[in-house]
């Protein structure tokens, strides 16, 4: 592995060019997973049959690999005439895959709030909307902030999967350079370093948040 500064710079440039797209995919997928996971969890609480169905769906999502889910949407949708760009399919797959995990986070976040909280709010004559959004939701968000943050880091770290369906995020761009120059070692190493810095920084922020929340809940 000879040291080739121009080559390294070229790779770095490509990686940084693809960074906005990568972060955008991660961000949108976080939002998608959040909303979908919340919907799953709400539906699970509606009634028993629906609850069992939701549980099965969530388990299915969690029991199959992300890569396979991506392939599934990427190859099966066009078969039925639904042709979507790789970014869209990828973002969708990421959202769905992680919604299965976030649903469980929501569940745990709600379950750990004592029943007395909503009872006290109801007893004060608060409307159901206020009970949900003024009393339960803030406590739930505090409970789930840290685990949710961890999953958001995971979503960022899963964006390279999208390279396999030709999305030009950081991994895709790096692979492109690598395959056109037949040099894989340096590009992958650099990409690894960039991802490591990004993900470790994010994880560090989550951990700080966790510590602060822990202190504030001891108030």
């Amino acid at each position: 592995m000879a040291f080739d500064l121009p080559f390294l710079l070229q790779i770095l440039k490509a990686i940084f060019q693809a960074m906005p797209l990568t972060l955008a995919i991660a961000l949108v997928s976080c939002a998608g997973a959040f909303l979908l996971g919340f919907a799953f969890e709400i539906l699970r609480r509606v009634n028993r049959p629906l609850g069992l169905l939701m549980r099965l769906i969530i388990d299915f999502i969690r029991s199959t690999p992300l890569l396979v889910q991506i392939y599934f949407f990427y190859y099966v949708l066009p078969y039925y005439g639904v042709v979507l760009p790789g970014v869209v399919v990828g973002g969708m797959a990421l959202s769905i895959y992680y919604s299965g995990y976030l649903a469980e986070v929501f569940k745990a976040g709600i379950d750990t709030i004592p029943a007395g909280q909503s009872e006290a709010a109801l007893a004060l004559g608060l409307a159901p909307m206020d009970v949900t959004f003024r009393v339960i939701a803030p406590q739930m968000l505090r409970n789930i902030a840290a685990p949710m943050g961890n999953y958001f880091v995971s979503i960022l770290k899963s964006t390279p999967y999208l390279a396999v369906i030709g999305v030009a995020e950081m991994m895709g761009m790096t692979l492109e350079i690598a395959s056109s120059t037949f040099r894989y070692a340096e590009p992958m190493l650099l990409l690894g370093i960039v991802f490591f810095i990004l993900a470790a920084t994010m994880a560090w922020c989550v951990r700080r948040l966790e510590v602060r929340l822990m202190q504030s809940s001891k108030r």
């Binding site: 969690r62 396979v68 066009p78 770290k157 894989y184 070692a185 992958m188 490591f196």
Partner: protein, 224 residues
Amino acid sequence: MSFFDIFRGILEGMDVTLTVTFMGLCFAIPFGLVAGILQHFLKGASRASVTMIIEFWRSTPVLVLMFMFYYSLPTVGIYLSATLVAASTLGLHVGAYGSQSVRAALQALDRGQVEAGFALGLRRPAILWTIELPQMVRAMLPTFVNQLIQLVKGTSLVALITMSDMTHRAKEISQLTFDPPAIYSALLLAYFILLYPITIFGRWLERKVGQGSGKLMEDHGRGV
């Protein structure tokens, strides 16, 4: 090809999936235990370097790790089989996650347990081995099962370095017959059948071990 043929064709890749999983465990378990224990007991610079190693394996995307080692080891003259590269990168990645629950379990143990051990005249390693580890195993079991699931799912990535696992078999079959719905449904089904029992088992364990301890919450988001 009928759905059944496709499904059978995919199952031919099961042995690779399982081989990589078992080899991966051989890396994940020792690494997770040792790294977690070291991180708990070491201080200062040596602790920081252990943390650094764990963070490297945890915070770098596993796909990037796998490609990195698959392509760069030969350039420094190390020739390993694809199986070994895949199993070691997947295993160390999963093990790095596991190390965090080892450390958390150690920290959660009651100080009184260690003191009781000292009071009985045991040495520190003996206390770790006979008192702390057995208690930790109980607390860590659900996490362990979750990590196992992540490992099995991770093995699908070996298809990208040309190993003929179930995912790769599906791609091979798709060259023979154009039926994406059947092929990819069969592939999803194959993984589901393999992993659903483990998922159920893991949830059962979680309920048994994590009753009211709030541990459930801590565990979330640490292992994907």
